[in-house]
């Protein structure tokens, strides 16, 4: 895609690198003695879409936020591209974060900024602050933003304010913003939970297609088991802060769902 052509150095460097993610002995407790995540061990390949399913409050969001350190892990390692993310601070943490895109449940756009400005937020880790302030972004970034807007079907919306968009449109902007970072990993925290069923499928399709074309590995938290089955290459089931299922979507059977969500009545 034209988007990768615009920053050839970064793209080739990233393509050559190993984008797999290794989590070892990850623990998290917000309140001492009440563990949300207990000894999580996972290796996620540098490609494909990994869906994490599980009931609310089981630590899916915490797990995904520990990876880019929006939440501080209490213990363990998160190794990505040769670095233990759990130990990074300051500039090194910011440098690692800009290689990790994130899509949020409630889109988390800056409402009063235009769609274009929201997309360019994805470049703030790369562009000097004074240039960002004066909106003097490199032309390559602006070209990449327009290309991504076309790719998510919002080509005519560049100058609209984000608060004028519908939920589905906002999430498209959210995906485009994350991809503006030229990420080596995309995290998505319940990207479809605020959307209607049809839009949910469209958003998952879009995310799978755009990341597939760029060969970016995706880790997505999702409530909806059907969506997970349909789009994931691997499903991880969590309950009570532990991984209880890990395998291809085809291997996910009713007994696993019973174990993950408890009870049977809802099936």
């Amino acid at each position: 895609m034209s988007q990768t052509d615009t920053a050839p150095a970064a793209a080739t460097a990233a393509a050559g690198a190993d984008r797999s993610l290794t989590i070892r002995h990850l623990d998290k407790e917000y309140v001492r003695g009440k563990a949300v995540l207990r000894d999580i061990n996972l290796t996620i390949d540098g490609r494909g879409l990994t869906a994490i399913i599980g009931p609310s409050g089981t630590g899916k969001s915490t797990l995904i936020r520990c990876i880019n350190r929006l939440v501080e892990p209490s213990g363990g390692e998160i190794v990505f591209m040769g670095q233990d993310l759990a130990k990074l601070r300051g500039a090194a943490l910011r440098a690692a974060r800009r290689r990790i895109g994130m899509v949020f449940q409630e889109y988390n756009l800056v409402e009063r900024l235009s769609v274009m400005e929201n997309l360019l937020c994805g470049r703030l880790g790369y562009v000097p602050v004074w240039r960002a302030w004066l909106r003097r972004f490199p032309q390559a970034d602006i070209d990449a933003a327009f290309a991504l807007l076309d790719a998510v079907g919002l080509g005519d919306f560049a100058t609209r304010r984000a608060d004028a968009l519908s939920g589905g449109q906002r999430q498209r902007v959210g995906i485009a913003r994350a991809l503006m970072q030229q990420p080596d990993l995309l995290l998505a925290d319940e990207p479809t939970s605020s959307l209607d069923p049809k839009t949910s499928v469209e958003i998952m399709e879009l995310m799978a297609r755009l990341t597939g074309a760029r060969d970016i590995p995706v880790v997505v938290n999702i409530h909806n088991v059907e969506l997970a089955r349909r789009f994931a290459t691997r499903v991880i089931g969590m309950t009570g802060g532990r991984v209880v299922f890990d395998g291809p979507p085809a291997a996910l059977e009713p007994r696993h769902l019973t174990e993950i969500y408890g009870g049977e009545d809802w099936l």
Binding site: R97, R98, I100, N108, L109, E111, C121, L124, A132
Partner: protein, 262 residues
């Protein structure tokens, strides 16, 4: 359910604290009236005196208009300078005092400093500056800068504390440095409120700038004070009318600016 028939259940708890407080306030008001020697007779005399004063104020005398214009222009300059510099200083102060962006060891001392700026009435600050740096407009500007910082830095900080954390989280997650987070995720959320606060402060500085002159800190207040002391009540009324006109014009202008920033 199990309550006896006929016994109604209480829907609202009786507020005994509230009742006691209201009764105490009413009693104190009665006491204060008696202590201050307010009587109908005193009020009637006062009304008569007031009528005599108004009689002497009319018609307003604009004969010494150059003095009037000179004072007004100085007041206007004090107000605009103090607002511009005060608002400029309040932006970083407000940011440093916002507890959702700054650690406690930065926010708490900044809040103390802001509260310190606000603890005296502008007139007291003006007296201090007149004693410290001498009579004239400089003392007035300095006094109103302090007052502006004490007031809008606090409002700025509170506006920043009320923003949605979600865009902040997203911009942070993209690896943006702190300054970029402020410019892209904080400022867009608070800008229109900041403009409102700044205009409000300009408005109150306009009024305060007419007053600091009473203590020798420059502006129309000095002219007004002199006219009072010489019993030139017709000139006093001319000055008051001029001040009212200035405040009204300021109101109209700030309305325009506010609309432009909506």
């Amino acid at each position: 359910m199990s309550a006896a028939a006929g016994a109604r259940r209480r829907a609202f708890a009786p507020d005994w604290t509230g009742r006691v407080v209201v009764a105490a306030i009413a009693l104190y008001t009665l006491y204060a009236f008696s202590a201050l020697d307010f009587s109908a007779q005193r009020f009637a005399t006062g009304l008569g005196e007031g009528a005599r004063l108004i009689g002497r104020m009319l018609p307003p005398n604009f004969a010494r208009w150059p003095l009037l214009v000179e004072g007004l222009i100085e007041s206007l300059q004090i107000a605009i300078l103090a607002s511009a510099l005060g608002i400029l200083a309040s932006l970083p102060l407000g940011l440093l005092a916002a507890r959702n962006l700054m650690p406690g060891w930065v926010a708490v001392p900044t809040r103390f400093f802001i509260a310190f700026c606000r603890s005296f009435h502008p007139v007291i600050v003006a007296i201090l500056f007149v004693k410290a740096i001498g009579f004239g407009a400089l003392a007035g500007v300095a006094a109103l800068i302090v007052a502006s910082m004490g007031f809008i830095a606090k409002l700025f900080a509170e506006a920043i504390e009320e923003i949605s954390p979600k865009p902040l989280e997203a911009v942070r997650a993209s690896g943006a440095p702190f300054a970029a987070v402020v410019i892209f995720a904080v400022m867009p959320q608070v800008m229109s409120r900041f403009v409102g606060f700044a205009l409000y402060q300009l408005d109150s500085n306009l009024r305060n700038s007419t007053m600091v002159g009473l203590v020798g800190a420059g502006g129309i207040g000095g002219t007004l004070d002199a006219a009072f002391k010489r019993f030139d009540y017709d000139f006093v009324s001319a000055i008051l009318i001029a001040i009212i006109a200035m405040i009204f014009i300021g109101e109209i202008l700030s309305g325009w600016v506010r609309r432009a920033f909506q």
